[in-house]
Amino acid sequence: MPAGLAAVPAASAPYRPLQKRLAASPLALKLAGGVFVLGAWEIVVRLTAPAYVAKPSRILVALPGVLASPPVLAAAGITLSAVAQGLFIALVAGVLVGLLVGSVPLAERALSLYVNGLYAMPMVAIVPLLTIWFGYTSAARLATIVFASFFPIAMNVADGARSVPREHLEVARAYRARPHQIWFGITLPSSLPYLIAGIRLAVGRALVGAVVAEFVISVDGLGFYILFQSRTFHHNEALVAVILLAFFAVVVDAGIDWIVRSRLRWYRAGEKTA
């Protein structure tokens, strides 16, 4: 295909480049890309790797069985509900701290150093400490998830609160709005784009945090399922669980996209990513 793309066409015929014709049907192109990726994977594994290594054909065979098996469903339920709980706690705490840091100058000076500093820390590093505090229990996993997702939310909300147009706040103050009215009536809605960008980051980090915590503390869940299956050379089954994890990440992202596009059209322009 690359050779065809690079070729300079003859001047005579009405010229329509190959890439244009292909681009007119992106779905076919994307399918071809998928076939290529999966095919390459299959062939490389078949030629070079031992039989237990995951390959698309075997994953496909394993898929229905794994997805229907109660242990996997239970594990997925456990991990996802932990992620949901952790995200909820991080959301509430992150919004409050973010609003505080972003709209109270003194709090900003005192806290932004810590919020920014801890945001930069790889949250994996905190897991051993959390095992001391919470033991080798699911509470340690929840704490990991909260820790992983709190900082992106707090930081983004603080950025958003800082970017609220000053006139809005002045008008509100002139009408004697109370602080909580200003916070939840003006600052929070106007920093919504930032909050959503923060939640997006937080979801990915929360999933990673859950998996890491399960690896370290060996509590039941999708991460532990992956660890166990791959240790016992059930790579295909383990990879189904990985796909499930990635699928959740994609679904949440698409869900947020959908909400933004259908409900919150007005702010798309101001959205900040990563």
Binding site: Y114, L118, V208
Partner: protein
């Protein structure tokens, strides 16, 4: 974020750090040292580890792992992303799969790497590489997407050579995006570094964290967390500086 520019701001930052240390000290004094070590004993442990050479050695080991993994990822992903900028059909075909790779929680793949490639340095580099590769590729391809096809067509119709096309059109347009990717990759590679040191053969700062947690040496654990936190802040600063040097608007994007 407010930059500590003026002297007064710097003073506030210092005061905030001092207050944090004081709170840390006072808040943990009455707790068991196995639960939380006070600031003072963390600092003395940190000093001990630095003087004994333990900390510098582990830190260098970790940084080598980080740099090799990240370096290979950038060197591999940048040219690939630029190549995809030149081949729009291939780019459209693959971009969704690159996005999936970017969204993939890579930690979940560590058990596979362990059983396929063992737990030596090469396997750990592979982990860091996997964490860092997709952000760079994904963002470079995003940059490539922002290049209007008419730019390439105009360049071609003026008989631009392939090299000139890359030099004057594709690279300047995609590079700022690639730097955004490098910035993200730095953060992820750091996570990958610690994860690799946790789950493959324990080494470097990851080992320090695990061992001090296992021995309930909380002072050592806090010291290690502090070091990795400072490392994170420094590397993030580096990434931001890199990113800010190449603002996106400078390219030929829309």
């Amino acid at each position: 974020m407010r930059r500590p520019g003026s002297g007064k701001d710097r003073l506030v930052v210092l005061a905030s750090l001092g207050a944090g240390a004081l709170l840390w000290e006072l808040g943990t004094r009455r707790l068991s040292p196995a639960v939380a070590a006070p600031f003072s004993s963390t600092m003395s442990r940190l000093w001990e580890m630095t003087v004994s050479g333990e900390l510098p050695t582990t830190l260098i080991g970790s940084l080598v792992l980080f740099a090799v993994g990240l370096g290979i990822a950038v060197v591999a992903a940048l040219p690939l992303g630029l190549l995809l900028a030149r081949l729009p059909a291939v780019r459209i075909a693959l971009s969704d799969y690159i996005a999936i790779g970017n969204a993939m929680p890579m930690v979940a793949l560590i058990p596979f790497i362990l059983s396929l490639f063992g737990l030596d340095f090469g396997a750990k580099v592979l982990v860091v590489f996997l964490f860092a590769f997709f952000p760079v590729l994904y963002n470079t391809v995003e940059g490539a997407r922002s290049i209007g096809p008419e730019l390439v067509e105009v360049a071609r119709s003026f008989r631009s050579s392939e090299w000139a096309l890359f030099r004057d059109v594709l690279i300047p347009a995609a590079f700022p995006y690639a730097m955004t990717g490098v910035r993200q990759a730095i953060g992820r590679a750091l996570v990958g570094m610690v994860a690799a040191e946790f789950f493959l053969s324990a080494s470097g700062i990851g080992q320090l964290l695990l061992v001090s947690a296992r021995n309930f040496d909380t002072a050592g654990l806090f010291a290690a967390v502090l070091v990795i936190n400072i490392l994170g802040v420094a590397l993030m600063g580096l990434g931001r500086a890199l990113h800010d040097r190449f603002p996106v608007w400078r390219g030929t994007g829309r």
